[in-house]
């Protein structure tokens, strides 16, 4: 399989952007929360679920998407949002709870909504799957070739919404791709203790749809299977299910004591870091170091700018809490 150069470049740069973003959030989130951890303190309060290490799942499929395609994501959504092209400044402002945020400070990091890029996420496991199916249904009813991608974690594959939606989508041949990010743990519970099958792609057979498995956080393999799944959906042939074995470098949330995994696990995963592997691939392809350095600098600049924008933005007026319950309606 040959991958167009611009796709490789985009995936690399976007992965770097995601990693830089999440690492920056580790620092920003820690501000004001110690010495005794206080979840509600600091400039970025509340729960924080970061996706450092899980970049391949997002970029490997979003590279195949168009602006008209829909993406839904769960509580750990930053990599998906960045890969879908959500405005990084307004997304970061939302995470800071500022009036300039995507939701004017009403959603926060788990609830990012960007109609401009057709991205949304939410804090309830698997609940975005039916929303993606609905977007896919709308596409089909309007005769478009737009597809919808629902990202979920491996723990969500045991939710009713997962099974209901796959049946519905398969039955109606909806242009939907479901991506399961298996980062090994549902919070603390390992997959083997929660899931009756070793690999969730096996569950595709239950709905008569293609199932793919991507081992070892391999972004190039993710790229390959996602292309098949997205093209199939665009052709109107129905949904697919992809599970990718991915790595969660950080805790389930920031502040997670991670008592459920061995101390050496994460260092071991980092040795197989997907960004470094893609970098080595690019070097082997003859891409110059200085070119990659320029992409990295561009990614970092975008993150810097987003955080500066968020920090410099104003908080919403407290009374704005009373607005946006209902849309003004003509009726």
């Amino acid at each position: 399989m040959s991958i167009p150069f611009e796709h490789l470049q985009w995936m690399y740069e976007t992965m770097v952007k995601i990693r830089t973003y999440e690492e920056r959030l580790v620092e920003a989130y820690a501000e004001g929360k110690y010495p005794v951890f206080n979840i509600g303190a600091g400039p970025v309060p509340g729960e924080m679920h970061l996706a450092a290490g899980q970049e391949p799942a997002a970029v490997g499929i979003c590279v195949h998407l168009k602006p008209e395609d829909t993406v839904t994501a769960p509580h750990r959504p930053h990599h998906h949002a960045i890969a879908k092209g959500v405005d990084l400044r307004r997304m970061t402002a939302e995470i800071y709870g500022k009036a300039t945020g995507l939701g004017k400070g009403k959603g926060g990091h788990m609830h990012l909504f960007d109609p401009a890029t057709k991205f949304s996420c939410g804090g309830i496991i698997a609940a975005g799957m039916p929303h993606a199916a609905g977007a896919a249904l709308a596409s089909k009813m309007r005769g478009k070739d737009w597809v919808a991608v629902a990202f979920i974690g491996e723990g969500a594959a045991n939710q009713g919404a997962f099974h209901e939606t796959l049946n519905l989508a398969a039955l109606w041949k909806l242009p939907l791709v479901v991506v399961i990010e298996d980062n090994r743990y549902g919070i603390s519970v390992p997959k083997a203790l929660s899931t009756a099958v070793e690999r969730n792609d096996a569950r595709a057979a239950a709905y008569g749809i293609p199932g793919y498995y991507v081992a070892d956080n391999d972004v190039l393999e993710m790229y390959r299977v996602s292309r098949e799944a997205v093209e199939r959906a665009r052709r109107g042939e129905g949904p697919s299910l992809i599970e990718i074995e991915t790595y969660r470098y950080l805790g389930h949330f920031q502040g997670d004591p991670e008592v459920y995994r061995a101390k050496e696990e994460v260092p071991g995963l980092r040795e197989k870091d997907p960004i470094r592997r893609l970098r080595e691939h690019l070097l082997a392809q003859g891409v110059a170091e200085q070119d990659m350095a320029a992409w990295e600098a561009r990614a970092k600049a975008a993150v810097d700018e987003a955080f500066a924008f968020a920090r410099d933005s104003e908080y919403p007026a407290p009374e704005a809490a009373l607005e946006d319950v209902f849309a003004a309606s003509e009726v």
């Binding site: 960007d114 977007a135 249904l137 919404a161 209901e164």
Partner: protein
Amino acid sequence: MATELKQRLLTGNKAMAEAIAQEMTRDPSVFVMGEDVGRYGGIFGATEGLYEKFGSERVIDTPISETAFIGAAIGAAAEGMRPIVELMFVDFFGVCMDQIYNHMAKIHYMSGGSVKLPLVLMTAVGGGYNDAAQHSQTLYATFAHLPGLKVVAPSTPYDLKGMMISAIRDDNPVLFMFHKSLQGLGWMAPIDAAVGHVPEEPYTVPIGKARIAREGRDVTIVAVQMMVHHALAAAEQLAAEGIEAEVIDLRSLVPLDRQTIVDSVRKTHRLLVVDEDYLSYGITAEVAATVAEQALYELAAPIRRLAVPDVPIPYSRPLEQFVLPNPDKIAAAVRQLMAEG
């Protein structure tokens, strides 16, 4: 020849189906999804004739997967479609409440207003026909309690049509509760209230405006759906005794027309609230609190409430009839109220 007001009589279900058909004709983004809404025409007839008229592409029978298809309605609405989705019995909310409470009701707010969800969730409510605790509830307050959903509960064929058109055109999610007994179905006890005048042309009835179903000077009875009709029957009894009851049909629970309630109490100085939902934490409490806050010193007697006495709806006829309000119980409560002041 004398001019006669021409009545075009429709049952509740036909009024709803006509509203949906007219909006589907007007707006190609409107479509219907739910269990048995296609060839069957809806278990309670709300989609009667739509499948024949619009076909399976726009009148979609779903699997028994409420989370999936109600969630899909949310996703389609976010894309600019205007889905009408049916939850067959309101009692089935338990299998899909996350989609309703956490997503349908909250996405507009959490998005800072950037995502609109123009959808209608219609659902059948009510008991009185021995269907027991999992098929007889109204659950008005359960849904009215959470911010972000408009909740309507019309009681006449005229309002069923007009409020359905309003609900479809509204840019917000609207929970449209229709009462089984007011659908005029051939397999339920026929009641006069299930048939009424419905103009053929499309029209809207505003969401958020109560209706004074009967004017009176002595006591205000606030009610919804079947309880409106029971209150009207009670008012007839009371009129024979010289008591003139004013009956307010709320029609819309969210937004709630508090002004009409308070204005009426300022006139009558007595209030009875009747509800087919459970007593505690419900509509009766909300209406009573509103009057206590805004017109307490207008009251000549303490507020009275009549509702299902905090038990699940029982099956057996004498048991169910014991817990549901009816005209005799309403009339008795009013007499007591009149005796108190």
